[in-house]
């Protein structure tokens, strides 16, 4: 990263757009112009916007979820097998100690349990949440509208192409209604 070149007293420039379409168009334009260290904020998920910002990278969450599910299945079977066949073997109705078909419901439930919690907690971890402090909240307008009806694009100061005046000019040309400096 080129963090050393970044202006230390600035997180980035936050531009507000009047509509979702305006934000998506501006994000595409910023991407074409070569900006990479940027993030967009919209009060609801916009699939195309995420594609532009994340450059079509796939989310890591499905892989985390799959891993959790596999671990869950193995744990469920290990629990049932170890308790029923090794630690506490009891003859119930003449069935074998490792009567695995009867363990399927428990294995199924532990699979779902581990997979679901891996997806949920994994999503938070990948997003680095909980995050008690983030600079964008320093902008008064963002606090008011960020989760209500505001569409924002933030080009961050760590981007090599970032320049306080040129980037501001770029955002205004891209249709920004308002551009604010974000204190770090």
């Amino acid at each position: 990263m080129h963090a050393a070149e970044a202006t230390p007293d600035l997180h980035g420039l936050l531009a507000e757009f009047g509509s979702a379409q305006g934000l998506v168009d501006a994000a595409e334009r910023a991407h074409r112009a070569g900006y990479r260290a940027m993030d967009a904020y919209s009060p609801y998920p916009i699939e195309h916007l995420s594609e532009v910002i994340c450059e079509h990278h796939r989310s890591k969450v499905p892989l985390i979820c799959l891993t959790g599910g596999v671990i869950g299945a193995l744990s469920g079977f290990a629990l049932a097998y170890w308790t029923s066949a090794i630690d506490y073997p009891i003859n119930i109705g003449g069935r074998p100690f490792n009567s695995w078909p009867a363990f399927i419901p428990v294995i199924f439930e532990t699979t779902i349990l581990f997979a679901a919690f891996s997806a949920g907690i994994g999503m938070l971890a990948v997003n680095r949440l909980p995050e008690p402090y983030h600079p964008v909240f320093n902008v008064e307008r963002f606090r008011q509208a960020g989760a209500r009806d505001g569409y924002f694009l933030c080009i961050e100061a760590t981007d090599p192409k970032f320049d306080r005046t040129a980037t501001r000019q770029f955002l205004v040309e891209a249709g920004a209604v308002e551009v604010n400096e974000v204190a770090p």
Binding site: A20, Q21, V24, A27, E28, H31, D39, A40, Y41, S42, P43, Y44, P45, I46, E47, H48, L49, S50, I53, S59, K60, V61, C65, L79, T83, S84, D87, I90, G93, A102, F103, P105, V106, F108, E109, T110, I112, L113, A115, A116, F117, A119, G120, G122, M123, V126, N127, L129, P130, E131, Y133, H134, V136, F137, R143, Q144, G146, A147, R148, D149
Partner: protein, 460 residues
């Protein structure tokens, strides 16, 4: 039913979101329920529900002091109100997961405005349900070692071949995953409340629970992925839960229980009961909080259709029970049917058919599906009907099984009723609190239905 309840043109489906709404009005309208003043009826309702909670605590205290002898359970009817109410409550929860998960995967946009509310209903119904199996052991603190696999000083482990332990795993997984799904869905809306709150303590509390969510496109990307995965995982989960509950019965030998139709029949019954409860709660809610723009007649109509479909599946289940009993040629199975139809509990069987089969027939007609009054009355019939169904399955099968010498009658006591009404009070009290402190309609999902959320992809 008034003329105003009828649609203007019946072939044109009403919208899922009334026209004129944008992201701002959605946030303002839905969060106004949380931040606004509550009307008087809210406090009166909460007070009554809270009285129910107190009654529940009283009944459970008495139970712990004296043991389950205070209930009507006996030999041979070892399962009475405890398991009837457990199955009834668990069933009610199923509609929440169906709406939030299965309808999401099927891309049914109309689910959006009722999903949060229905998921809350799921959680509270599961909370009411688990009270019963926990307390029907008499001493829940001692029962832990055969319900939960934990290393104990006796060196004993639960029996993993038993449907009862499957049930513990299924219900606890269902409760935990439903809570997670609900909370993950709430995070963006909690962030909206955090930013909307005026009082410092509200900002702080919603701030803590929203985990610093800032609606970033990078976050939404992972969020949408996780949300879809949770929906995909909840779908088989919800189908497994009532199937496993039905195994508690189906793997027993009692006539009336030992049937392969039980899993699908129970799942359909659960969805049927759940949609009835959603309608029972949502119809007054949309009226009192003025949410008709978000929960439109389209939603009521669709819920009526789901109720009709699942009701017919349940009716098929009843018919099959009678048919297989006759076709089996088995003395005990045939007697079980005769006992249900003409025995001492015949009035309950007749009520069951009235509520679950006959009362839902008006739902074939659009004018009834779009009338709030008619729908609410039918949903109340179904709430009662599904409770009668559990009564028919449990005590009437148990009270006269194989040996006439072992027969007995089952009569619930006042403590049975106190516990039952107590859980209804608990359920309603939790519902009142939920509506008061959390957005009852998923705001960020509603925003995706607005016209401005439709994006044209550029030359990218």
């Amino acid at each position: 039913m008034s003329v105003a309840d009828l649609p203007q043109s019946s072939h044109h489906a009403p919208p899922v979101l009334a026209p004129g709404h944008g992201p701002a009005t959605i946030t303002d309208k839905i969060s106004s329920v949380v931040f606004g003043r509550m009307p008087l009826w809210f406090y009166v309702g909460m007070l009554i529900a809270f009285g129910g909670v107190m009654m529940l605590l009283g009944a459970l205290t008495k139970l712990v002091f004296e043991g389950i002898g205070i209930w009507g359970n006996n030999q041979p009817v070892g399962w009475g109100f405890d398991i009837i109410n457990f199955v009834w409550w668990i069933g009610i929860g199923h509609a929440g997961t169906l709406i939030s998960a299965i309808l999401l995967l099927l891309r049914q946009e109309w689910r959006t405005s009722i999903n949060r509310f229905a998921e809350a209903m799921t959680l509270f119904a599961v909370a009411c349900a688990v009270i019963y199996p926990l307390f029907h052991t008499g001493r829940p603190w001692l029962a832990a070692y055969w319900l939960l696999p934990y290393p104990n000083t006796m060196g004993m482990w639960p029996n993993f071949r038993s449907p009862l332990i499957w049930d513990v795993f299924a219900v606890s997984t269902y409760g935990s995953v439903s809570l997670l799904f609900w909370y993950i869905g709430l995070i963006p809306d909690l962030a909206a409340l955090r930013d909307k709150a005026v009082k410092a303590w509200q900002q702080r509390v919603y701030g803590i629970f929203s985990l610093g969510w800032r609606n970033s496109a990078r976050h939404w990307h992972n969020y949408e992925s996780a949300y879809l995965l949770l929906a995909g995982l909840s779908t088989p989960l919800v189908l497994s839960v009532h199937s496993v509950v039905s195994f508690d019965f189906a793997s027993g030998q009692i006539p009336g229980w030992h049937a392969t139709i039980f899993p699908p029949y129970f799942v359909a019954g659960a969805v049927f009961a759940g949609f009835a409860m959603v309608l029972t709660l949502v119809i007054p809610l949309r009226r009192f909080f003025g949410l008709e723009d978000f929960i439109t007649t389209r939603h009521l109509d669709n819920m009526g259709r789901v109720m009709l479909l699942t009701g017919l599946i349940v009716a098929y289940g009843y018919a099959m029970e009678l048919f297989t009993a006759w076709y089996s040629g088995n003395l005990y199975e045939m007697y079980m049917v005769k006992n249900r139809l003409t025995g001492p509990y015949a009035a309950i069987y007749a009520s069951l058919i009235l509520c679950n089969v006959l009362a839902i027939q008006p739902l074939w007609f659009e004018r009834f599906r779009r009338s709030v009054v008619a729908l609410w009355i039918i949903s109340m019939f179904v709430n009662f009907g599904m409770w009668f169904e559990r009564f028919i399955i449990i005590p009437t099968s148990l009270h006269r099984d194989f040996l006439p010498g072992a027969w007995d009658m089952y009569t619930p006591t006042r403590w049975d009723f106190a516990t039952f009404f107590g859980t209804i009070g608990l359920f309603l009290a939790l519902m009142f609190l939920f509506v008061r402190v959390l957005p009852a309609i998923a705001m960020f999902e509603m925003k995706t239905l607005t016209p401005e959320a439709k994006i044209k992809e550029g030359a990218h």
